[in-house]
């Protein structure tokens, strides 16, 4: 049964009090957020999911789809270092499909900005969430986007190919297609082969002249640069089959954390670029254990978090009710160091945090 708003509010206040007791400063954020920042960060998908409205003076505004961006902005503008914040309030998500998912719901969040020790901060957030949610008997999933990024960076291929794979870590199907192509597993598509033949037929200036009148903002130099890159790419040898196999093993890795660590250590022997990220994973498990988390029973999935919003770039986690697979995660979060760099105008700070949905907590408690 859907709990009423009063009991959801009460649940939110309880969670918030626990976040404050853990040392976080309470912050608030505007409900109306400038659409431009969010669109630039998240891309078109957020426009499909957020309520966009227009303000006569401030232009396109969004009803806040989450707190992370305003909290990071606030911290980067004036925050103490280190800092811990908590917040609670409504977030708004358009639902494109009929169903029971609400288009407006409460979030209670906890964010840690701390340069000192990433593993300790990861463990602090996860252990806190584990304790708060313990009565609900949820299953936790964890992953580490940083390990995937390290694996891609370590591939023996060209920088543009690595960059293309990095961009699409969050789009698993596209990532797969690119990896198969770069690994020589799938043939060069016919359209690409034809285009390469045409591009090789004459100097790029001549081809541009022949193509027809120039129009638009994307300049001839930009086109020529990509033509050169395409020709270069066609000469790039495929990624060695062994490396693609290792990456496949990594992507498929799904085990309890200690066994996953063993497996990652094995992979790192053949893929040395994984080393620092695996050391970080190891250190996190130690820190989690010190915080009292049952690490031996902790699920780890290397591909976990690949379909979330793309600002997570390290530890990622979610808490799920196994008897209610229809529900969204009760809580979720992760590390987003790169986001602070994007929003920090040249400055950055390691950050990790997460949110709990008190509406779902209240529902599960009432059930």
């Amino acid at each position: 049964m859907q709990p009423d708003k009063v009991s959801i509010q009460a649940e939110a206040e309880k969670l918030l009090a626990q976040f404050r007791a853990a040392g976080a400063t309470l912050v608030e954020a505007d409900i109306l957020q400038p659409a431009e920042t969010l669109l630039d960060l998240y891309g078109e998908d957020i426009r499909g999911r957020a309520y966009v409205t227009s303000d006569p003076l401030r232009g396109e505004m969004m009803l806040r789809p989450d707190f992370t961006v305003p909290v990071v902005q606030m911290h980067m503008a004036q925050g103490a270092d280190p800092a811990r914040y908590c917040y609670r309030g409504e977030v708004f998500r358009k639902q494109e499909h009929a169903g029971t998912r609400p288009s407006e719901f409460l979030q209670v969040g906890y964010e840690v900005f701390d340069r000192a020790n990433a593993s300790a901060a990861d463990a602090e957030v996860f252990a806190l969430f584990t304790d708060l949610l313990a009565p609900l008997g949820l299953r936790a999933s964890t992953g580490d986007i940083g390990i995937l990024m390290a694996a891609v960076q370590g591939l023996g291929t060209s920088a543009p190919r690595k960059a293309a794979l990095m961009r699409h870590i969050w789009r698993p199907r596209r990532f797969r297609a690119l990896l198969d192509r770069f690994g020589g597993r799938s043939p060069v598509p016919e359209a690409r082969a034809q285009m390469l033949a045409q591009l090789a037929a004459a100097p790029v200036e001549e081809l541009l002249d022949r193509a027809g009148p120039f129009t638009g903002l994307r300049g001839p130099n930009e086109i020529a640069a990509r033509v050169a890159q395409l020709i270069e790419d066609a000469k790039t040898p495929p990624i060695a089959a062994g490396e693609v196999d290792l990456l496949d093993d990594l992507l498929a890795l799904r085990d309890k954390a200690p066994a996953a660590l063993e497996c990652l250590r094995d992979l790192a022997v053949d893929m040395p670029s994984l080393g620092p990220a695996v050391d970080g994973f190891d250190a996190r498990l130690v820190a989690l254990d010190e915080r009292g988390v049952d690490v031996g029973n902790l699920d780890f999935e290397a591909s976990y978090g690949r379909t979330t919003l793309e600002y997570y770039d390290g530890f990622v986690f979610g808490f799920y009710c196994e008897t209610r697979p229809d529900l969204p995660p009760v809580a979720s979060g992760g590390r987003y160091d790169a986001l602070t760099r994007v929003l920090g105008q040249g400055r950055s700070i390691p950050a990790v945090g997460g949110i709990i949905r008190p509406g779902i907590v209240a529902m599960l408690k009432g059930a």
């Binding site: 891309g43 078109e44 009929a98 027809g212 129009t215 994307r218 086109i223 033509v227």
Partner: protein, 235 residues
């Protein structure tokens, strides 16, 4: 009465009248060219409602009309979860148009969606904002590009003269309905080498949310019988 919404002007209206006429249902406008009401003969209990084709999806979704003729592109664009809101009874074989993505002809390095994605990435790095695609079909284009793993773009709204946006530097590419391609050529644009976002044509729809109780259902049965169509599920 069963309210049947049909496009209020132009070729779409003429073709709709023709299509029903060939199946023994005669439609005509009342009085002057300017009066938006009409009459139906051949099936009892049907009232003609002349509407802009673009408003027919909304009227169907609200249940203010029972049936309607409009482009499949408009229904998919304007209605979330469209199969839950309307039933497509039959394609009508006219009003064909493809929703396509087009880029400047000078983009000799862009032929496919993969190329568009790569160009968008480089464009964003260079210009500091996402590559802009002008369209009025936001939902369809966004879903299509997401499905095909294109990132680093943004949609900018263009309700008309979309092909001109590239020259005017308000967009780098466009997504629009094209039936001939002449306007594209005249604006130095070429269609990407990929399946269209949507192949549109005029279709006859029935509204799931309309009040079908009594007379409208009787008229629907008579109409389907005349058109040789089966009764759809849920009606």
């Amino acid at each position: 009465m069963l309210k049947l919404g049909v496009p209020s002007k132009g070729r779409l209206m003429e073709k709709t009248f023709e299509w029903f006429g060939e199946r023994g249902i005669t439609m005509r406008r009342n009085g002057s060219e300017r009066e938006y009401s009409g009459a139906v003969e051949g099936v009892d209990g049907v009232e003609l409602v002349l509407l802009s084709a673009g408003e027919i999806p909304r009227e169907l979704a609200a249940g203010r009309i029972h049936m309607g003729v409009t482009g499949s592109d408009l229904v998919r664009e304007k209605l979330a979860d469209w199969p839950d809101q309307v039933e497509d009874l039959t394609p009508m074989g006219f009003g064909h148009a493809d929703l396509i993505i087009a880029v400047p002809v000078a983009w000799i390095d862009v032929e496919t969606l993969d190329d568009l994605d790569a160009a968008a990435s480089a464009f964003r790095a260079r210009h500091g904002f996402r590559l802009r695609i002008a369209t009025k079909y936001h939902r369809l284009v966004r879903e299509y590009l997401r499905e095909n793993g294109v990132a680093d773009y943004q949609l900018v709204d263009s309700q008309g003269a979309t092909e001109g946006t590239v020259k005017n530097l308000t967009a780098e590419a466009i997504a629009d309905i094209t039936s001939t391609g002449e306007t594209l050529r005249a604006n130095h644009l070429k269609i990407l080498n990929c399946p269209p976002v949507h192949r549109s044509q005029a279709m006859l729809f029935a509204a799931r949310g309309a009040d079908w109780e009594g007379a409208p259902l009787v008229a629907l049965e008579a109409m389907l019988d005349r058109l040789g169509l089966p009764r759809p599920d849920g009606f």
